[in-house]
């Protein structure tokens, strides 16, 4: 599906206080898709986000919204009106939840009846209709976050921008809110860009990922691509060293799941339901490499693999293996020498079911 480019950036350089905050040659946000901006602190994610939201005017370079250039304040205002931002803090006003969610609609001077309808549906989307009359200052963290999300959706924006929006939530709230958000984005087909630190969040929500460092975009691509094929050491270090495998749960029994990955079956702990799409994340240090199969091992995942790449990293070797799906393993130098591993050779890769970290994945 070839979606249209909603926002395009060309040759943007932004300086602030003597240092370069943004230096982007080319960047695009595709309509209807969810993009994650990841990178370390100070990489420029928030700044880029503000620019995409029409809150920051680029002094150098070009910004296009829906194919049209954004040149003057009027254009910027148009972009701003079609975008909605959600920050890390809920930033609610000291009034009722209804009033808060209605804020953007009030600015647009809509009729009261229209406002009521839009607010009601936004509240319903996030499951907080019962909070409508509550004072915003009395909400819990999760509730407040839902209100700020509802507020952003109520104005029916073309693009929604989330700046570390889930950082301050406790894990259970985070889990449910992210699920709800994902569902709503899929239903409404609203374009989303989220700045994030959190890999799980990124994996769960994003279809596309752009990695930033020092104001530059160092790699862009689909989520799995970025995580499995980082093209620089920086990106690799940032996204982490896990192997991330796309799979589907085939069956599940007493806390042990069989997951189909690239035609093979991986066993992992957890209790997702059959049919659930998942990511299987596996750290390289948990993959054991050997020359022959042992008798019975506790490791339930044993695969024959071809060695496709060998890289020496300090005190160990990093092996990229092909089991039908890619797998990364670390082995010590003595083990490497003992096993006599060579590129193109065959080894046995094994890992425990408990070492596989399973995350829900929506297609």
């Amino acid at each position: 599906m070839n979606s249209e480019t909603l926002i395009k950036i060309e040759n943007i350089i932004l300086q602030r206080g003597g240092s370069t905050v943004l230096d982007i040659r080319e960047f695009q946000v595709q309509q209807g898709r969810i993009l994650a901006l990841i990178g370390p602190n100070g990489a420029g994610k928030s700044t880029l986000l503000l620019m995409l939201a029409g809150l920051l005017k680029p002094r150098q370079g070009k910004l296009y919204f829906q194919g049209r250039p954004v040149e003057n304040r009027a254009d910027l205002a148009i972009l701003r009106r079609n975008a909605a931002v959600v920050f890390q803090e809920p930033l609610l006003l000291n009034s009722s939840v209804f009033e808060n969610v209605a804020l953007g609609l009030k600015f647009r001077r809509l009729k009261n009846e229209e406002i009521r309808k839009s607010v009601q549906s936004a509240l319903d989307y996030f499951g907080i209709s019962q909070l409508a009359k509550r004072s915003a200052k009395t909400l819990s963290g999760g509730e407040a976050k839902r209100v700020s999300l509802a507020r952003a959706f109520a104005i029916k924006p073309q693009i929604i921008l989330l700046d570390e929006a889930f950082n301050s939530l406790d894990p259970p709230s985070r889990e449910t809110i992210i699920d709800d958000l994902k569902r709503i984005l899929e239903e409404t087909k609203i374009t989303a860009v989220l700045a994030s630190h959190d890999r799980e969040e990124t994996l769960r929500l994003a279809q596309d990922v752009s990695v930033m460092n020092s104001g530059k975009i160092v790699q862009s691509g689909k989520t799995a691509e970025i995580f499995n094929q980082p093209d620089s050491e920086f990106v690799a270090n940032f996204v982490g060293t896990e192997s991330i495998l796309e799979g589907t749960v085939k069956s599940s029994n007493v806390g042990l799941m069989q997951i189909t990955v690239a035609g093979k079956s991986i066993e992992a702990v957890g209790d997702f339901l059959p049919g659930q799409n998942v990511y299987c994340c596996l750290r390289p240090e948990n993959v054991t490499v050997s020359n022959y199969t042992h008798g019975k091992m506790s490791a339930r995942n044993i695969f024959e693999a071809k060695v496709s790449k060998i890289v020496r990293q300090g005190f160990f070797y990093k092996l990229t293996l092909d089991c039908g799906f890619p797998l990364v393993a670390y082995i010590t130098i003595p083990s490497y020498e003992d096993l006599g591993i060579a590129k193109g050779g065959t080894v046995i890769a094994s890992f425990k079911a408990t070492a596989v970290h399973v995350i829900r994945r929506e297609k």
Partner: protein, 232 residues
């Protein structure tokens, strides 16, 4: 102690009997200080908010000046206003020396830095992203400022009360630019000084009590607005 009791009794008598002169003085105090506070409210909150939200070269210096202005001695203000508006001053042609208008001007000059300084701090205290959040929801500059002001309602009303308190109790500048003229520019504070000077302590105390009551009533109303909570 007996004097204070006498004063309280006198105050009671004056209020109950609706003594016209005292009523007139009280009403004039309220009018003059009320108008001055009103003026300082508009100028102070708008300028204070503008300084808080804008970044410009020398902002720190300007803020220090405003903060200094909060402690401006009223008597100094009175002196300067007098020199400006007396016959031979640059604004002498206005002929407003020894009028209530001059008192309003002097009191507004005293109250405005107070309201400005506190408003400035109140707006600066709001979350820096709040501004961006409101803009991103589609607010115009003006709409954004209005929302911020409403959000900072608590400290802003404190600013107004501080401004009002500063001028309803002011006496030095009021005497200098107003002249304490009977029935015209005589207010509770200036009358109190005069009656004390004449030795009429009971009347002076009575006027002081009425002044305190007046200030309390006004602040009661403002506090109601300030503390108004939205339904849980």
């Amino acid at each position: 102690m007996e004097l204070i009791v006498q004063g309280i009794i006198k105050a009671f008598q004056l209020i109950i009997s609706f003594d016209p002169e005292v009523l007139g003085i009280t009403w004039l105090s309220l009018k003059i200080s009320g108008t001055a506070t009103f003026i300082s409210l508009f100028i102070g909150i708008s300028l204070g908010t503008a300084v808080a939200l804008t970044n410009f070269y020398g902002k720190r210096l300007v803020i220090s000046l405003i903060n200094t202005g909060m402690g401006l001695p009223p008597v100094v203000v009175g002196l300067f206003v007098t020199i400006m508006i007396w016959r031979n001053g640059p604004l002498g042609f206005l002929e407003i020396l020894y009028t209530p208008y001059a008192m309003i001007i002097a009191q507004a000059i005293i109250a405005t830095p107070i309201v400005m300084g506190i408003s400035l701090a109140a707006i600066q205290n709001l979350s820096p992203n709040l501004r961006l959040q409101i803009l991103s929801l589609g607010a115009s500059r003006l709409q954004m400022v209005w929302v911020l002001i409403k959000e900072a309602r608590l400290p802003l009303l404190a600013a107004v009360m501080a401004g009002f308190g500063g001028v309803i109790s002011e006496v030095g500048a009021s005497i200098m630019v107003g002249g304490n003229i009977k029935g015209y520019s005589r207010v509770l504070t200036t009358a109190t000084v005069m009656e004390t000077g004449k030795g009429n302590f009971d009347i002076a105390i009575a006027l002081s009590i009425i002044l305190l009551l007046l200030a309390f009533l006004v602040n009661l109303i403002l506090t109601q607005i300030q503390q108004r909570q939205h339904p849980r």
